[in-house]
Structure formats: structure tokens, C-alpha cells
Symmetry: C2
Subunit: 329 residues, 2 copies
């Protein structure tokens, strides 16, 4: 079912690896503060390393047109900070207790601290975008920030909505996930001074890659290994958030089964019931179906790369499409 050949992120990041190391330091620089509580929470959060996918995409986007990526490092770091702010607020919203195998900020401290630290990170990210002194990049980043927020609110609104369509789901994941990844690539391309054709192609690659990424994330929420994935499993179901596998399942069930599942989705799943439900999803092949959809989006993404010359950066973006389908965390 899943591809067996293992592509690693380390390999994909190879063309920009030296700058990615600088990004990690820059993140802490951009977040420096004399507020001891903030510093403590920030050190704690960034101690557990994320995938740094957003900075990597920013750097890869620029690396088609620039040899020295030093001027991109701050913006790349700002995207990781922005992303971290949304994660910290998401974890409040999802009442999640685990993130990257550590207790979430809302668990280790409380929701109130998590609200404010999220705001703090968000503001520092926006400040770093502004300090790039690139008006087009700033406008794009602000537009993205609004869209991400809108996607989150839309997702909350559609919770427990048993009639959510695949199209409705795609709209949500475009806004809450794909838009940020697309804007990373777009921003790299803007900083590299690319013509519009390339800027738009990289942005579309990002939108399609991003949708594939979120679909796989939603599958992993159901079939992942909690330790490997580093997040609470079944969190979406427990919160009543319908993702592609569940939306597909609903379309396959008879009326009686549908009504039974509907009542579960409405009330929110309790942990003990999750196992049965996951077996039902697997029995109907909806995980394979969802992975198939994710693959479709990676194919659209791949088409966008055709206008770029063969290069390590292009190879990385191609390999990333394979990686997202096989990823386990």
C-alpha cells in the first residue's frame, strides 16, 4: 500500500542544508526577548525539532535563482515561526496534549500562556517579513496569514457537519495548510527575483503539494503510530473534524450505517470506540482512496516543475512528492 523505497528529508534538504542550519539559529535570534517566561516557553517549544519543511521550501524556491541564500534565511525562519504560532494555537483548539512527543504548551503551562505565546510568535514572524523590505513578499505573507486563519475557522464551523463534501474539505485544507506551504515557495521565488511565470508555477506546486501533505497527515491521524507520528492519534475524530477518509466512508455506507456513525460523529468519539471505527475505515478501503487522491495532487504538483531546468533543487522538489506519500511522521 505504502511505497517501500525510503526517501529521507535529509536527502531532500541536501541542496539547502547549510542554510537550514542557519535558519535554526535565526529562529531563536528573531524570538529573543528579555521576558523570562516567554524565553522559557520558546526554548521548550523549539527544543523538539520540527521537520523545518517551510524554511526548506523557502530556500529551495529561491535556490533556482540564487547562489548565496543568506538573504533568504530570515524569511525562511519567519515562516517556521509563523507555522509554530499556528501549531500552538491549534493545540489549544484541539485540546491536544502531545506535539513532537512532548507535552503541548497548553498542557505544560496552560491555554492562556499558549494564546499569548502564539500571538508573540505570530507578531515576530510578521515583523521579520516586514523587515525583508520586499513589499510584494509582505503583501503575500499577510494575505496568507488571513487565509490560514480563515481556513481554521472554516474547519471549526464544519465540525460535526456530516454533509461536508470532498470539495468542502479541499477548500479547508487549501486554506489552512496548502496556502502557507505555497507562500514559502512563492516567497523564495520573489526574493530570487524570478519572472512571474516561475513565481506562479512554484506557488501552484506548493498548493498541490500542500493538499497532498494534509491528506496524508489526516490519514496518519487515523493509521499512524503515535510514538513515530509524535502526535495524539484520532484527535480529528475526537474533535468531530471530518477528514477525507471519513467523508469517503460516509459516501459508501447505507442509510442505517450512516445514521449510526452520524450519532457518533455528532457526540464526538470516545477513545475506546476509536479502534472499531478505524477498522471500519480500513475495511472500506478509504485510506487507500485518500492516498490515491493525495497522489493525484502530487502529480499536478510535478507538472509545475517542467519549466525549471534540471538541478538539485528541482530534484529535491520532485523527491518531496514521493516523500509525502510514504511519510510516517
Amino acid at each position: 500500500m505504502l511505497q517501500q523505497n525510503t526517501i529521507t528529508l535529509e536527502h531532500i534538504y541536501e541542496p539547502v542544508q547549510s542554510y537550514l542550519a542557519k535558519v535554526e539559529d535565526r529562529i531563536l535570534d528573531l524570538l529573543s526577548t528579555d521576558n523570562e517566561l516567554s524565553s522559557e516557553v520558546i526554548r521548550y517549544f523549539f527544543k523538539s525539532k520540527g521537520k523545518l519543511l517551510r524554511p526548506a521550501l523557502t530556500l529551495l524556491g529561491a535556490s533556482f535563482g540564487m547562489n548565496d541564500l543568506a538573504p533568504v534565511v530570515s524569511v525562511a525562519a519567519a515562516f517556521e515561526i509563523f507555522h509554530s504560532a499556528t501549531l500552538i494555537h491549534d493545540d489549544i483548539i484541539d485540546c491536544a496534549y502531545l506535539r513532537r512527543n512532548y507535552p503541548t504548551v497548553n498542557t505544560k503551562w496552560n491555554s492562556q500562556i499558549a494564546v499569548m505565546i502564539g500571538d508573540f510568535l505570530h507578531d515576530r514572524a510578521i515583523k521579520a517579513f516586514f523587515n525583508s523590505k520586499n513589499e510584494r513578499l509582505m503583501a503575500s505573507a499577510l494575505n496568507m496569514a488571513g487565509t490560514v486563519c480563515d481556513g481554521e475557522i472554516l474547519e471549526m464551523k464544519e465540525r460535526h457537519n456530516f454533509n461536508l463534501t470532498e470539495q468542502g474539505y479541499f477548500t479547508i485544507i487549501e486554506r489552512k495548510t496548502a496556502m502557507l506551504l505555497a507562500t514559502c515557495l512563492e516567497s523564495g521565488a520573489i526574493l530570487a527575483g524570478f519572472p512571474d511565470e516561475r513565481v506562479f508555477a512554484l506557488k501552484r506546486y506548493g498548493m498541490n503539494f500542500g493538499k497532498a501533505f494534509q491528506i496524508m497527515d489526516d490519514c496518519l491521524d487515523i493509521i499512524g503510530n503515535e510514538h513515530e507520528f509524535g502526535k495524539t492519534l484520532g484527535a480529528d475524530l475526537e474533535a468531530g473534524t471530518l477528514t477525507l477518509p471519513v467523508i469517503r466512508l460516509v459516501s459508501l455506507l447505507d442509510e442505517k450505517e450512516k445514521a449510526r456513525i452520524y450519532s457518533k460523529v455528532k457526540s464526538g468519539f470516545a477513545q475506546p470506540e476509536l479502534g472499531d471505527f478505524i477498522r471500519l475505515l480500513e475495511a472500506h478501503g478509504v485510506i487507500e482512496y485518500s492516498i490515491g487522491k493525495a497522489k493525484e495532487f502530487t502529480e499536478y504538483a510535478n507538472l509545475e516543475l517542467s519549466i525549471f531546468p534540471d538541478s538539485p533543487a528541482r530534484q529535491s522538489l520532485e523527491e518531496l512528492l514521493g516523500y509525502v506519500i510514504q511519510r510516517k511522521r
Copy 2:
């Protein structure tokens, strides 16, 4: 104790009243979205009118140098939106159930919605600052946003800290409250194209006015009339937030009394105990002391106005200093 002559905000706002009406429409324009849930929450929140103090200060700041204030309306509206975002997040942090006599967003919906709507408002405000195309204003607004957030986190850190000094308290209120009010005036002055001398004078006026404003707010949290004030009374005490009257009280108590109060502050006050504590505060004259401090700050603020020619705007800023001391909501 309180001044008896009644200055109304309507009177103070007179020189900019026609533009303030435009601000109210612009707020809803800047927040328009096709997201039904967001629209519903936004309509609900802005249905109960705030004092519009931040837009009024922005307009008054500009009105020394401009006759047509139309170019200032969006930025003035953005400050009210920014302020509203902080209120919505504050109400989560304080677990407040009442704001302007209506249930808070976290009460009427839930904390999760409140997190995201706050983020949405915040982003739209920043976008409007950016759309002013004034780089100095944008830099100042972003700096202010970071400072406000920092002030909030500092306040949380100092909760239940019985050793918080007056100076520590002033630092918190400078950051969380005065900075925003000062930036409104500063931004108006920047948009009016004032020389630095006037920009800085108005900003300093705002910092001093803002500290007086917050001290009075903290007094009203203790001695206000819940219906008139429109907020839950005693919320600071319940949350363990030490404000000037309490800090002053602590400095006046003997060791035994201090220890007794300390244990209360540490555990957080329960509503039934609040009445007794408020009577203790009144008995030690700490409310009068605090109002005296607020008056001092209004006097510093007043000095800053001396470089401005006599005009309706200057009169309004002078009267505002009297208003803040006598205000009941």
C-alpha cells in the same frame, strides 16, 4: 473623591465626530469575509459599541495638521480592530464572562473560536496598517503589537507575585495598555506629516494618559458598578493579578496581615471573599492613593500639549485627562 463635573466622551470627540462615524463602517468593511461563522461572531462583538477611544485618539492626533481626515479613517479603524483582538484574547486569559454587558466570545461560543477570531482580527488590523503604505507607521504598529503581547505575558508571569513593585506594575501597564494608546496618537501625527518634535510629544502624552487610564481601569475593577462598567468586577483579584491598589495595600500592612492576604492572593480569591477584601482596600485609602497616581500621570501628559496651538483638538486632549479620572466605564 471623584470629580463631580461630568465631561462626556461625546463632547471630547466633537472635533472628529464626523470621521468617527465613518470609522464604525470602515471597521466592518475591513473585517468583511464570506466565512459565515466569522461574520456572525464579528457582528455580535461590534454590535455592543466600545468607547472608540483608540480611533478617536488617532483622528485627534492627525487633526492638528490635517483638515480632511479621510486618509486616516482606515488606520483609525485598524487600531480599534487591533484593540478588539486583544480584548477577545484577554477574555480567554481572564476567563471573563462579561464584556460591554454581553457574554464574551469565549462564553457565547468557546475559547477555541475566541482564539481564532482574535487571530483573524489581529491579521486584518496589521493588513490595514500595511495598506496605509506608510513604512514608519507600519514599523511603529508592529513594534507596538510586540510590546502589547510582551506586556500581557509579563502580567501573566507576575500573577500571584506578592512582591510585585509599583515600578513592576507600571512596566506592565505601559506595555499592555499605554503603548497602544500612544501609538494611535503617534500614527495620527505621522499621517499628518508632523515634525518629530510633535510626533514624540503626542506619543509621550499617550504613554502618560495610557498609564492613568489603566490605573483607573484597575480601580474600577474593584470599586466599579458592574452594570455601568459592563465587565465582571474583581476579575483581576480572582485571577491573582496584582494591581496598584493591592500593591499599595501590601506596603501598608503588618507582617501578620500581609501573610493572611498573601495566602488569599496565592490561591486566588473566591467571589464571596471579595467583598471583605474590597472593604479592606477602601479602609486603607489605597483607591484614593491610586487615583492620585493616575492624576500625576495626567499632569505629565498635559505638559506635552504645551507645544501645540490652542485648538479644538488640543482642548479635547486636555479634557480627556479630566475624563479619565472621573470615568465610570
